[in-house]
């Protein structure tokens, strides 16, 4: 009897290991391996590490049928009603380590926007040799109209005030150049060095608040999303940009009152009309900088060809869209909606379904999205419910109408102290940024800039 039960306990299952990341690919395809169903994630991870013959074991996660293995194989099979006789297709991925709270940077007003400069950041990558990668900076734009640059020891290195109203977006274009925009309808370029932040260019062209920015340094282009239903295309170069139209530049009287050195004013390369409502966010296609995507409150995502300044494609969903993020490897666009979820949109013309996948879990507007710099399968989202969530788009299950994913980790606001106030009152997250060195940086209504990092 005991022998039989022992036999049953040690029942085995055939698994087929594979991965989508090239650096941890098995030297040769092992084919189906018989493993005990007793195994858990850790044992499987050890097994794969042994197969990989890595010197330093890499923690791995295992995805079976779009679900992360959190229990033993046996329990997993029982819960999902899978026979132990089938060959399991097990995908292994580098483990996502839970991001832990690191620090909070206190602001005077709501923090609307955040960006990070570090060796691995996009701006640094574009700068190439001009940036040594030694200085790590965090840029924050606030509702009080002040742009701040922080170092990693939570000190303000430089402040830039020039916006006459709240800043809604701020981005590093290069390690020395910053673009910011806000409710004063202007887009401003700043030159930054170690301690100062000097305005270099004021770009006029939008008739309403500019809520989103995207920069691409190699082509020196900036995309802006404005509440006047248009997308603006701007150049970072003074010479390239046309003159600003007289109507939109505020009268000189106020300028004199402000009593500062006049800043060069320029206009947009083009203003792209087409949206029926406020444009909330824009992004560049990470593979092809001549393509931009914009998300709007009119429920649609538009694909723009920037060279010809035309709308190529419109994908209409059922909700107002508040944020957008391009996932280059899977050729998907993630958009945060007002219906409290994240919709992954396939922008290709051949795609039949508008929504490729839905990530559910947020309890309020999804105001911002950030891609994992290490992987194109993972993304972080910030929501008005006061949480940031980390998602893995490989972890997915099929529901009646849709493929639905769930959050891997939830990052609470430290200021909320574990509470989740109704309607995210006081803890709304307005922007989130994910950097390899710094971690997940989020900013919100609690006037804090919060850094969470996976300890590894």
């Amino acid at each position: 009897m005991t022998d039989v039960s022992a036999m049953q306990k040690q029942s085995q299952v055939r698994i087929h290991l594979h991965t989508r990341s090239g650096d941890i690919e098995l030297p040769q395809d092992t084919g189906p391996i018989l493993v005990s169903t007793e195994l858990k994630r850790y044992q499987l991870s050890t097994l794969v590490n042994r197969l990989l013959e890595t010197e330093q074991p890499v923690p791995l996660e295992f995805l079976i049928n779009g679900q992360f293995l959190r229990t033993s194989l046996d329990e997993f099979l029982t819960r999902n009603g899978i026979s132990a006789e089938t060959t399991l297709s097990v995908e292994y991925v580098k483990a996502l380590i839970p991001p832990l709270y690191v620090a909070s940077y206190e602001h005077d007003d709501w923090v609307s926007s955040v960006d990070v400069l570090s060796a691995s950041s996009q701006a640094a990558a574009w700068a190439g040799n001009r940036y040594d990668g030694s200085t790590q900076r965090v840029l924050s734009g606030s509702y009080d109209g002040v742009l701040r640059i922080w170092n990693t020891s939570s000190e303000v290195v430089a402040t830039g005030s020039g916006h006459t109203s709240s800043i809604k977006a701020a981005r590093y274009v290069s390690p020395t150049q910053i673009a910011s925009s806000g409710m004063d309808r202007t887009l401003r370029l700043w030159k930054c060095d170690e301690t100062t932040l000097t305005p270099t260019l004021e770009l006029y062209g939008h008739k309403a608040s500019i809520d989103g920015l995207a920069a691409h340094a190699p082509s020196s282009r900036i995309l802006s999303a404005s509440a006047d239903h248009t997308v603006g295309v701007w150049s970072t170069k003074k010479a390239e940009a046309p003159e600003a139209s007289e109507e939109l530049v505020p009268n000189a009287k106020r300028r004199k009152l402000s009593n500062t050195k006049p800043v060069t004013q320029r206009g947009p390369l083009s203003i792209l009309p087409g949206h029926q409502s406020q444009v909330t966010d824009v992004c560049f296609d990470e593979k092809d900088a001549t393509v931009g995507y914009s998300a709007s409150m009119d429920h649609s995502v538009k694909t723009w060809d920037l060279t010809t300044a035309t709308c190529v494609d419109t994908r209409t969903t059922a909700q107002s869209l508040l944020s957008i993020c391009h996932l280059p490897k899977s050729s998907l666009i993630a958009t945060g909606t007002s219906a409290r979820h994240i919709t992954l949109i396939d922008p290709r013309a051949s795609a039949t379904n508008v929504s490729a996948m839905t990530l559910r879990g947020h309890a309020n507007f999804v105001s911002s999205l950030a891609r994992d710099p290490m992987s194109s399968h993972q993304l972080a989202s910030g929501s008005h419910d006061g949480t940031c969530r980390v998602w893995d788009i490989r972890s997915v299950r099929s529901e009646a109408m849709d493929r639905v994913g769930e959050a891997v980790y939830v990052i609470e606001r430290e200021s909320a102290k574990g509470r989740r106030p109704i309607a995210g009152e006081g803890v709304k997250v307005f922007d989130v940024c994910w950097n390899r060195e710094i971690g997940i940086v989020s900013a919100g209504e609690d006037k804090q800039l919060q850094i969470n990092k996976a300890s590894s």
Binding site: E247, S277, S320, S338, F365, A423
Partner: protein, 798 residues
């Protein structure tokens, strides 16, 4: 036997005999005396008492002879009685006095009637012969005993005295009068002196006869009727009442007029009564002929079929009431026969042994409750069918069957088989009606005191709110950030806020106190060109103002004074308030016309009903009061979205006026006691009315003047109601702190009714005082609504 026993007894009680003899003699003599000579003491002296003898005279005689020598005054009566009962009497003394020869003689003497000597002779003879048995002892062989069946002894009544033939005088010294067959003493009944003394002490009771019941020894009682009957019999009268022995003759056949109805006639019998019938002869001959020809076979054997039928009929009458049942159409009175399973082996009288229960099974079955048993019998084995006993439960079964028939309903009730769900109207699933607001996503806090009014800007980016703190605040509904704010008054509340419905201007009209303020928000909420246009629009009317006033003065004296359009102070202008309109009433409601040039203000709590409703023209700075006299207190008003119509709600009525023809178009009777708010569907054909009496009324303007639907879902007054401009949604706000969202689809086809589906109750506002939610507005495009709470919060629901 009795005789013999009597004989033996006599031998045994030989000693006291002479006394008894004497006494008996006396008594008998007394009796004789009484009988023959009419003499003797009349102790009872009652003729009635004599008649008591009529049944049991022999015993009575016996007793009477013992104790009470009875004698009668009415001798002839007695004689007659005697004569009647002769048959009974003549034996009595004989048997009674069997024991003594004197008695016998006396009886002989006393009766003139025939005396049978036989019993006396017999008793004298020895009824046995003595022979010698095998041992040489004498052996008595008894002869047959003549039982004398008609003797009195044998059929003496069972309840009588059983002391035997012993004269009572033997027991005079004892308290008892003898022994019964079991040897127990029989008590002596009270008599004689004791009775006399008793009679002396008490009155003679009803029905007292003075006689003793010979059977029991108790005094004999006769009722009046019985005595009467006896009396009549003794006098040879008809004993019963109401019988007339001599009725008058009924003349049936005689007398006058009776001759005609006499049924008999004297006519002679007709001849045909005496000759054979020719007709019968003819028929018989016919049969004879048929028999001769062989058409009728007189003694034809019965066919097999017929015989079987007859046999089957005779054989067994089974009472299967459903045997010949035809399939019937389903009818309430027809109950089809239950289908019984065929009998199994265990029901056999001689089942195979495996069907017989063993001890345990039998015990278990017996211990089980009768209702729990799986079958109501135990299989039992009988060697032959004839050994099968009667069915023990037969009576019980029949009784229960009768109970069933009596108690069970005979009529099959057709059950009303309706799924209650199906009675509900088919409402679409709320999930299919998405989008609609479900949760609170933003709370805008900043107002002190109640927020009274709300308005979305035409693009849907901003929400303006006005409250008790005299401020107008503009919010970003997605983040909850207050983007602009202006204080209009320190004392008075902002009663109404309304964005001008035009996308190329950015103007808020706000009613505060008696003034309407026109605001252009600062903080770069609108584009510079928009701002410029807005300023133009606001200042455009100043050119007209004077001319308008003058023209009005020509028509009426008081009107120009009713309103003043003016620029506010420079400080206010700097803050964003560019135009004010002063009225002499307090406007509570401000509604724009779709062209954004006209707007109406309503001042409900005014004394002057003529100025309660004013229509203003912004471009000309003109104010008009369209109603000279308004019936009822004006509550709210709005413009028709497509037609030149103006809808005015007073406290209880809704009136629709045609603005071009300036006449009343229609009047609605919502039946509400106090209307709080109205909202016109964007198509202009449906009107929603919210009332303070907790009702929400849906009026189809094309249907009539009574509500199409009444929705009672709130527990408190409803303050506000709003249709969505594009989506089939509407929401109401109530003092119970909730908002309710409905799906209200209006179809262009007038044949199809509007569908109203309750979707969601939005809770979150705190009830402060008695006020909950004061206002609700919809986002112009999205399914988002914003509510103004008395708790000072503005909530955005998405």
């Amino acid at each position: 036997m009795a005789q013999q026993r009597a004989g033996q007894k006599r031998k045994v009680v030989e000693v006291p005999r002479p006394e008894a003899d004497e006494s008996e003699d006396e008594i008998v003599e007394g009796l004789i005396n009484g009988e023959l000579s009419d003499e003797g003491e009349s102790e009872e002296g009652d003729s009635d008492s004599v008649e008591g003898f009529d049944e049991e005279d022999e015993d009575d005689d016996d007793l009477a002879s013992d104790e009470i020598p009875s004698s009668d005054d009415e001798e002839d009566v007695r004689q007659q009685l005697r004569d009647l009962k002769t048959g009974g009497r003549e034996i009595t003394p004989d048997t009674k006095l069997m024991g003594s020869e004197t008695g016998k003689e006396v009886s002989l003497l006393s009766h003139e009637t025939a005396v049978r000597p036989l019993p006396r002779d017999r008793s004298d003879q020895q009824n046995y012969t003595i022979s010698t048995d095998a041992n040489g002892n004498p052996r008595f062989i008894y002869g047959e005993i003549d039982p004398v069946y008609d003797s009195d002894d044998s059929d003496a009544p069972a309840g009588g005295n059983t002391i035997g033939d012993i004269p009572l005088s033997y027991y005079e010294a004892y308290p008892h009068i003898g022994y019964d067959i079991n040897g127990r003493k029989i008590a002596r009944p009270a008599k004689g002196e004791a009775l006399d003394s008793l009679l002396d002490s008490i009155d003679i009771p009803e029905g007292w006869t003075g006689l003793t019941d010979p059977a029991t020894g108790q005094p004999l009682k006769l009722s009046k009727q019985e005595l009467e009957v006896l009396r009549k019999i003794t006098r040879s009268e008809v004993p019963g009442d109401g019988y007339d022995p001599y009725p008058d003759m009924v003349e049936w056949f005689t007398g006058k007029g009776m001759e005609e109805v006499m049924p008999l006639s004297a006519a002679p019998e007709p001849k045909r009564r005496f000759v054979p019938s020719a007709h019968e002869h003819k028929r018989v001959m016919k049969m004879v002929k048929a028999i001769k020809e062989g058409r009728i076979k007189p003694y034809q054997p019965i066919s097999e079929e017929d015989r079987e039928k007859a046999e089957a009929l005779l054989e067994y009458a089974s009472y299967d009431v459903w045997a010949n049942e035809q399939a019937q159409a389903d009818h309430p009175m027809n109950i089809p026969a239950p289908k019984l399973p065929p009998p199994g082996y265990e029901e056999s009288y001689h089942p195979p042994p495996e069907y017989l229960p063993d001890k345990n099974e039998r015990k278990a079955w017996e211990e089980q409750d009768e209702e729990d048993r799986d079958r109501d019998f135990l299989p039992s084995d009988h060697g032959a069918l004839r050994k099968v006993p009667g069915y023990a439960q037969f009576v019980k079964d029949k009784f229960e069957r009768c109970l069933d028939l009596y108690l069970a309903p005979r009529v099959r009730r057709s059950k009303l088989n309706i799924d209650p769900e199906s009675l509900l109207p088919k409402l679409p699933d709320p999930a299919e009606l998405k989008p609609f607001p479900t949760t609170c996503t933003t709370i805008c806090r900043g107002h002190e005191g109640r927020v009274r009014t709300l308005s979305f800007d035409p693009t849907g980016r901003w929400v303006a709110s006005g409250g008790d703190d005299g401020n107008v605040r503009v919010w970003d509904p997605s983040t909850g950030r207050q983007v602009w704010q202006i204080r209009l008054s320190r004392e008075e509340a902002v009663n109404a806020v309304a964005w001008r419905p035009s996308e190329d201007t950015c103007i808020i009209a706000a009613c505060c106190g008696e003034t309407v303020h026109f605001l252009i928000p600062k903080n770069e909420l609108c584009a510079p060109d928009t701002e410029a246009r807005s300023q133009e629009v606001l200042s455009a009317g100043f050119g007209y103002a004077t001319s308008a006033t003058t023209s009005k003065t020509a028509s009426g004296q008081d009107k120009p004074a009713a309103s003043t359009w003016s620029r506010p102070s420079a400080q206010m202008q700097d803050r964003g308030c560019l135009l004010t309109l002063s009225l002499h009433t307090t406007p509570k409601i401000l509604t724009w016309h779709r062209r954004a040039d006209y707007f109406t203000t309503i001042s409900p709590s005014t004394n002057a009903t003529s100025t309660a409703i004013a229509i203003h023209t912004l471009s000309k700075h003109l104010t008009q009061h369209p109603f000279k006299r308004l019936k009822g207190l004006a509550q709210t008003a709005c413009f028709h979205p497509t037609k030149p119509q103006f809808i005015v709600a007073t406290r209880q009525r809704i009136r629709i006026y045609d603005l071009q023809q300036q006449k009343l178009e229609k009047e609605l009777l919502p039946g509400a006691r106090w209307i709080s708010d109205i909202s016109l569907h964007p198509s202009g054909t449906h009107l929603l009315i919210s009332t303070y009496d907790k009702r929400l009324l849906w009026h189809d303007l094309e249907l009539g003047n009574t509500p199409y639907k009444t929705l009672r879902y709130h527990s408190r007054a409803i303050r506000s109601v709003a249709f969505h401009e594009r989506l089939p949604l509407f929401a109401d706000a109530s003092d119970d702190g909730t908002l309710q969202v409905f799906h209200g689809k209006v179809v262009r086809d007038s044949l199809e009714n509007a569908t109203v589906v309750p979707l969601k109750v939005l809770r979150g506002h705190r009830v402060t005082g008695v006020l909950g939610v004061l206002g609700v507005v919809w986002h112009p495009r999205e399914a988002w609504c914003v509510s103004a709470g008395a708790d000072g919060g503005v909530r955005v629901w998405t």
